[in-house]
């Protein structure tokens, strides 16, 4: 036990540095995923037929294949056709493109829940279709999506762990280095797990707080896991 606690002292600096990279990966991936996800959700619900299909296919493909494979295609595959990224850029991109597919589904769910009634109400006072979307439907849909959407930052934070496989220097990479140095794989990875747990709990508490603050009284939908 004492040796185990010693890992935090011995590798604390490294773990913190890695955790910083992990949080950065989460934040950037989430941001890319949100912008692209919102676009996909709108395209899927309100776009022309062909765009709906493209958005649908995008979501199906990115949700239907492992993130690790997507990461390898971007980092190892794309340079063959002249598109090369640094490790970190490839990681941002893979996490963002992947997260977009999931975020699109959360947003689409709430856009559909707001439904055509609000669209009719908006159109009835003379707003255009896109005006109604931006001023009536989205403000409600975004707040409605929050409870289910708040799974995504945590889920993404956990998934970032795989990018150490292309040698991004995140928490997991620091863990691997420490594990190789001590040969105590179980102990070191347990320590790493504790750091991840702390980050997940803090993030969870933060999201719950935001959720409470932005809740519209009387507005709720059933959220699935």
């Amino acid at each position: 036990m004492l040796t185990w606690l010693g890992y935090f002292e011995r590798f604390g600096q490294n773990f913190l540095r890695g955790a910083g990279v992990t949080l950065e990966l989460t934040a950037v991936g989430l941001a890319i995923g949100f912008v692209l996800g919102l676009f996909l959700a709108l395209a899927r619900s309100y776009g022309p037929k062909w765009l709906q299909q493209v958005a649908g296919a995008y979501i199906a493909v990115f949700r239907g294949t492992p993130l690790l494979v997507q990461l390898f295609i971007i980092y190892y595959g794309l340079p063959e056709i002249g598109i090369a990224f640094s490790q970190n850029l490839a990681a941002y991109l893979a996490l963002g493109l992947n997260s977009a597919a999931y975020q699109a589904e959360y947003l689409r769910g709430s856009i559909n829940a707001i439904g055509s009634a609000q669209m009719q109400a908006g159109r009835s006072i003379g707003l255009s279709k896109w005006q109604t979307i931006f001023y009536v439907i989205l403000p409600q849909a975004l707040r409605l999506a929050l409870p289910s959407w708040s799974n995504e930052p945590i889920s993404l934070l956990k998934t970032t762990a795989i990018v150490f496989l292309i040698a991004v220097q995140d928490l997991m990479a620091e863990g691997k280095r420490a594990a190789t140095a001590t040969f105590d794989f179980v102990g070191v990875y347990l320590a790493v797990a504790v750091v991840y747990l702390v980050m997940v709990f803090v993030l969870d508490a933060l999201l719950k707080f935001v959720e409470r603050k932005t809740k519209i009284p009387g507005m709720d939908i059933e959220t699935s896991r």
């Binding site: 294949t65 494979v69 390898f72 747990l197």
Partner: protein, 214 residues
């Protein structure tokens, strides 16, 4: 090497991918179901322990947990990477599957249990013949989602050296210097596996739907 050989080399990893999934998913379901039953019907102390299990295991990245379990298991017993990886992945999944089963158990209303007790069935009989059959149906859609996750997460055992689809794509990509084609091929195979599984479960769900008038 022609394209056929290239593809079939990667595709032969499917045996391992499917194998890992077929071990991880049912073992996770078994553990998850037992834990969920304890959670819901096992009293306060059991519920607290299960809640801790769920919170901790679902709070750790699957890859990290996989590594911990894998190294812990292989340190204790002499298991192949395939078996150790598969079982570890099953334990990772058990926490998620526990939540699925628990949710389903809780959405079968307590009144159903009471009605079963009222005709003289024991608690165990009531759970077995009245609550579980209804819970299973409710659990299929979220479980289908978890099945897809486990298929995709089976790619993580690549890091443990199991020669599954992704590993083989990497190997042949390296030897032929055609990474893009190799990983795209792997993606297509994974997609077909995930797609086929969720479609199959959708059919099962439809089959098991209890008829009712709109």
């Amino acid at each position: 090497m022609d394209f056929g050989q290239f593809i079939s080399y990667i595709a032969s990893g499917t045996v391992y991918t499917v194998g890992v999934t077929l071990i991880a998913l049912p073992s996770g379901l078994l553990i998850g179901t037992i834990l969920a039953l304890l959670y819901v019907y096992g009293g306060k102390a059991a519920a607290r322990v299960m809640n801790l299990y769920s919170t901790v295991f679902r709070g750790i990245p699957p890859l990290v947990l996989l590594f911990i379990l894998f190294f812990a298991v292989t340190r204790g017993i002499n298991l192949s990477a395939f078996w150790a990886g598969s079982l570890s992945l099953g334990i990772v999944s058990s926490a998620y599957q526990m939540e699925i089963v628990r949710g389903a158990l809780l959405s079968v209303s307590g009144d159903q249990l009471m009605a079963a007790r009222a005709i003289g069935m024991s608690r165990l009989q009531s759970i077995r013949y009245v609550v579980l059959p209804q819970a299973v149906r409710l659990a299929i859609p979220p479980w289908s989602n978890e099945a897809a996750i486990v298929i995709k997460d089976s790619s993580l055992v690549y890091a443990l050296g199991v020669p599954e689809i992704l590993r083989r794509a990497q190997l042949i990509g390296a030897s032929s210097q055609r990474y893009l084609l190799a990983y795209l091929s792997a993606a297509v195979i994974y997609f077909l596996l995930v797609f086929g599984t969720t479609r199959l479960l959708a059919v099962l769900e439809k089959k098991l739907t209890i008829p009712s008038n709109p």
